[in-house]
Symmetry: C2
Subunit: 222 residues, 2 copies
Amino acid sequence: MERHFEASLRDLKNQLVLMAGHVERAIGNAIEGLKKKDFTLISSVYAIEDTINQESMTLDETCVKLLALHQPLAADLRLLIAIIKMNTDLERMGDLAVNIAHDSEDYLQGTPLKQLVNLPIMCAEVQGMVRESINSFVSKNEKLADEVLQRDDLVDNLKSKIKNDVAEVLKTRPHDVNQGLHLILIARHLERIGDHATNIAEDVIYVISGKDIRHGHVARTK
Amino acid sequence: MERHFEASLRDLKNQLVLMAGHVERAIGNAIEGLKKKDFTLISSVYAIEDTINQESMTLDETCVKLLALHQPLAADLRLLIAIIKMNTDLERMGDLAVNIAHDSEDYLQGTPLKQLVNLPIMCAEVQGMVRESINSFVSKNEKLADEVLQRDDLVDNLKSKIKNDVAEVLKTRPHDVNQGLHLILIARHLERIGDHATNIAEDVIYVISGKDIRHGHVARTK
């Protein structure tokens, strides 16, 4: 029975890694498609998100069954609840990748506003956060989870930079406001994916150390 | 033991209602403060969000303890997991209310761009969604949960309308791009709060009927 539970946990972790890989690919394809004006690449995001949704529902069901079947206590219970939460975060990241794809398609149908320099950089950074957040969970590496939290500042700065650049261009091209909004929104979607990776990293730190750092202060659990 | 569990569940539900009330007040104060140019009212949002965060952490801990202590099965187990998820949604709504407060403060420091007509309407609508989503859970009312899902379309339309209005104004006032962005972002924060209410309504339908409608198709659970 216990061995079965351990094996199930291992499966769940593998599933999370797989989902995170799909999220990475979804946002990568959206941003690369935007840069290369490749609509086919962008639309691949919709199929990937569909896969993520299926994986998410399966994972959720598996967690509920494991809770019911094994009624785990203490550490294992927290672990399963953390997995349920991480699953939700990954699923929402998939939604955001779809948002990026929509805004990219809309943007490409209008006049290009500017060179896209910072969006690909921001995308790579966010992909790294997604990957490392799940890796920190699988490898129980609190330091790695902490690094994800640090990287979030860089992503926030990139988003502000993109917003300011666009606002500057729009002052001389007011009729391209909608184009500018698409770029700013894409940056915000990426930022929010980074926020979800941050949520995961915080859950990891909670699972490993029992420290609840979600609201900027450390509340040790009883 | 069972009676204790039932009482605990009732407490949890009351706590969710309380949190939802705080979320409603937070977004209401932010938007009313924006309309009345009242910085004190806007800054009240920060204290309310702090309360929501505390409530969220307490609720989370209580759920974990209940799971460990009572090891509930089937329906009760799903109920507790749903509460954990709803709690996360309410907590994120609090974050979004803070985003609205920040954007409102920034907006009020610049030149007013236009009359704020649709934002208060959108706010009232979203407040209703938050309230009804939790009410549908407490009263196990699937029809009410379904109504929340329907209302989401209205909120999405209001957001699009606000975005288009702002884009139109900006064409003649390009130097006010940042002001326009604040209004559009406030509308988006409200829309996302509506999305979280939708998540809750979907969880309610899942708990009541076992139907998983999260990804646009009904997958009945085994």
